[in-house]
C-alpha cells in the first residue's frame, strides 16, 4: 500500500470532533451507520469532484447504511473507510470490510472499555472517596483519568485506521487491545478490593452500629450475585431490600 495522502489538519480535526457524536442518531435499523457517514463526511469532500461529485455522493450513501461497533473504536473504522475511499478502492471491497469489521470492533471495545477501563476508573474514584478525598477531587480524578484513555483511544483509532486503510485488522492485534484488558482487569480486582471496605466505612457517617454486620451483608450479597449471575440483578435486590426496610420502619 502506498503512503497515506496527508489529510489537512482542519479536515482531521472536523472528523475527530464528529466522532464524539457518532451515536447521535442511534437507532435499531442502521445503528450508528448515519453517524459513520456524518464523521467521515469532511474527509470525503476531498474526493474528485468535491461535494457535488458522484464519488462523494456514492461514498456518503455507502457509509450511511447499517454499521455497528463500539463507539470509541468506530474511529478505527472511520479512518480506514476514509483512506479506502480516497485511495479509490473497489466499492465491493469497502462493503465487505464494513460488514467484516463490525463484530471485532464491537467485541474489542466492549472488552477494553465497558469491561475494563470504565470499571477501572470507577473503582479508582471509589477508592479516592474511601480514602477521604474531597468531592472535587473524586470527580476530577474519575473524569480526568477516564477521558485520558477515551480521547487517546479515539485519536489512535482514527490515526491507525487512516494509516492502514482496509488492512487495519493488524491494528486490532496491537498490544493495547490484546494485553490491555488483562492488565486492566487485574487492576480492577486489586483496586476494587481496596476500595469497597473503605467506601462502606465512609458511607456509614460514623454511626455507632457495628460495621461487622454491614460487611457481612455486603459480602453475602456479593457472593449471591456472583453465584447466581445472570439470574438475579443486584439493583432489583437492592430495591426490594430498601423498600422492605422502609416498610418495616414505617409500620413498626
Amino acid at each position: 500500500m502506498s503512503a497515506a495522502p496527508t489529510l489537512p489538519l482542519g479536515t482531521w480535526l472536523r472528523v475527530f470532533v464528529r466522532l464524539f457524536a457518532v451515536q447521535g442518531s442511534y437507532n435499531y435499523e442502521v445503528m450508528i451507520g448515519n453517524g459513520i457517514a456524518f464523521a467521515a463526511e469532511p474527509a470525503l469532500r476531498l474526493l474528485p469532484g468535491g461535494r457535488a461529485g458522484p464519488a462523494y455522493q456514492a461514498a456518503l450513501a455507502r457509509h450511511s447504511r447499517y454499521f455497528n461497533a463500539h463507539p470509541y473504536l468506530a474511529a478505527l473504522a472511520v479512518g480506514a473507510l476514509v483512506r479506502a475511499e480516497l485511495d479509490g478502492e473497489d466499492p465491493v471491497r469497502i462493503e465487505r470490510f464494513r460488514t467484516a469489521c463490525c463484530g471485532p470492533l464491537g467485541a474489542a471495545g466492549d472488552r477494553l472499555v465497558w469491561a475494563g477501563w470504565l470499571p477501572f476508573c470507577s473503582v479508582l474514584a471509589l477508592l479516592a472517596f474511601g480514602l477521604g478525598l474531597s468531592a472535587t477531587g473524586v470527580v476530577a480524578l474519575f473524569v480526568g483519568t477516564f477521558n485520558v484513555g477515551h480521547v487517546a483511544l479515539r485519536a489512535w483509532g482514527l490515526r491507525a485506521g487512516y494509516r492502514d486503510g482496509l488492512k487495519v485488522a493488524a491494528a486490532l492485534g496491537s498490544p493495547v487491545l490484546r494485553q490491555g484488558p488483562l492488565h486492566v482487569a487485574r487492576g480492577v480486582a486489586l483496586i476494587a478490593g481496596l476500595a469497597l471496605p473503605l467506601v462502606l466505612q465512609r458511607v456509614r457517617l460514623g454511626h455507632s452500629y457495628s460495621i461487622g454486620l454491614e460487611l457481612a451483608l455486603a459480602a453475602g450479597l456479593a457472593a449471591a450475585l456472583a453465584r447466581w449471575q445472570g439470574r438475579i440483578d443486584g439493583w432489583r435486590v437492592g430495591v426490594l431490600l430498601l423498600v422492605g426496610f422502609f416498610l418495616y420502619s414505617v409500620l413498626r
Binding site: 442518531s25 442511534y26 422502609f246
Partner: protein, 233 residues
C-alpha cells in the same frame, strides 16, 4: 416542596447535558452517577450529600454497563434527580441522613424509567431516518447532517424533560416518606444502603474480572489491604 425556579432550571440543564453525554455526545462519562449526582448536589448547595448518593448509585451502576445494543438503565438524569433529592433541604423536622437512602431508591427507579425513554428515542430516530430515506440513499450530505442533529437535539430535550419530571414528582414523595422515617432509623438506613450498594458492586466486579487468570489473588490482596486500612483509620 422546597425548590426555586432557578434551581429547577439549573438541574434541568444539568440533566439534559448528562443525558446527552450518555449516548449521543460526547460519552465522556459525565453521566455516571458519581459525577451527575455530585454536580446536582453542588447546584443545590450540599455537595457532600450529592457525592454520597453518587457513590452509592455508582456501585449499582457498575452492574449495568452499556454492552452492545443491549437495553440498559440511564443513570444521568436519574442521578441528577437523586442528588437533588438528597441535597435540597426539606423542612427542618424531616431533614436528616435518611434522605440519602430515599434518594438512592428514587435514583434506582428513575434510572430504569429513563432507560425506557432511550428506547423511544431510538424509535424516533428511526422514524426521522425513514423520512430522509431517499436523500440518504442518494448520498445527500444535508440529510446525513439533519438526521444526526435531530437525534442530538431531541436527546438533549428528552433528558432535560425527564430530569425536570423526576425532580418535580419525587420531591413531594420524598418529603412525605422522610416525615415517616425521621428519627433513629436514619443512620441504620444509610448503613444498610451502603452495605447493599457495596455488595452489588462486589458482585459486579466479580462478573467483570472472574475470567481473568489469577484474578482471585488480586482481589484478595486488595480486600486484605482495604480491610486493614479501614480497621486502622
Amino acid at each position: 416542596m422546597n425548590i426555586s425556579v432557578g434551581t429547577l432550571t439549573l438541574l434541568t440543564m444539568l440533566g439534559a447535558a448528562v443525558g446527552l453525554d450518555f449516548v449521543s455526545f460526547p460519552q465522556a462519562m459525565l453521566s455516571r452517577p458519581l459525577v451527575a449526582a455530585t454536580l446536582a448536589g453542588a447546584l443545590c448547595g450540599d455537595v457532600a450529600s450529592g457525592l454520597l448518593v453518587g457513590v452509592l448509585l455508582e456501585c449499582f451502576a457498575l452492574e449495568t454497563m452499556p454492552f452492545g445494543a443491549s437495553r440498559y438503565p440511564e443513570w444521568g438524569p436519574a442521578s441528577v434527580a437523586a442528588g437533588a433529592l438528597a441535597s435540597l433541604s426539606p423542612d427542618a423536622a424531616s431533614s436528616g441522613p435518611h434522605l440519602v437512602p430515599i434518594a438512592v431508591l428514587a435514583g434506582l427507579g428513575c434510572a430504569f424509567v429513563g432507560g425506557q425513554t432511550l428506547v423511544w428515542l431510538r424509535k424516533f430516530n428511526l422514524s426521522v431516518a425513514g423520512r430522509y430515506r431517499d436523500e440518504l440513499v442518494a448520498g445527500d450530505s444535508a440529510a446525513v447532517v439533519a438526521v444526526q442533529w435531530t437525534g442530538i437535539i431531541v436527546d438533549f430535550g428528552r433528558a432535560g424533560a425527564v430530569t425536570a419530571i423526576f425532580v418535580l414528582a419525587l420531591l413531594p414523595a420524598r418529603d412525605l416518606l422522610s416525615s415517616w422515617l425521621h428519627g433513629s432509623t436514619g443512620p441504620a438506613a444509610v448503613g444498610l444502603t451502603g452495605a447493599i450498594a457495596v455488595g452489588v458492586a462486589g458482585g459486579a466486579i466479580w462478573k467483570v474480572v472472574h475470567t481473568t487468570k489469577g484474578y482471585q489473588w488480586w482481589l484478595l490482596a486488595g480486600l486484605a489491604g482495604g480491610t486493614m486500612l479501614a480497621a486502622f483509620r
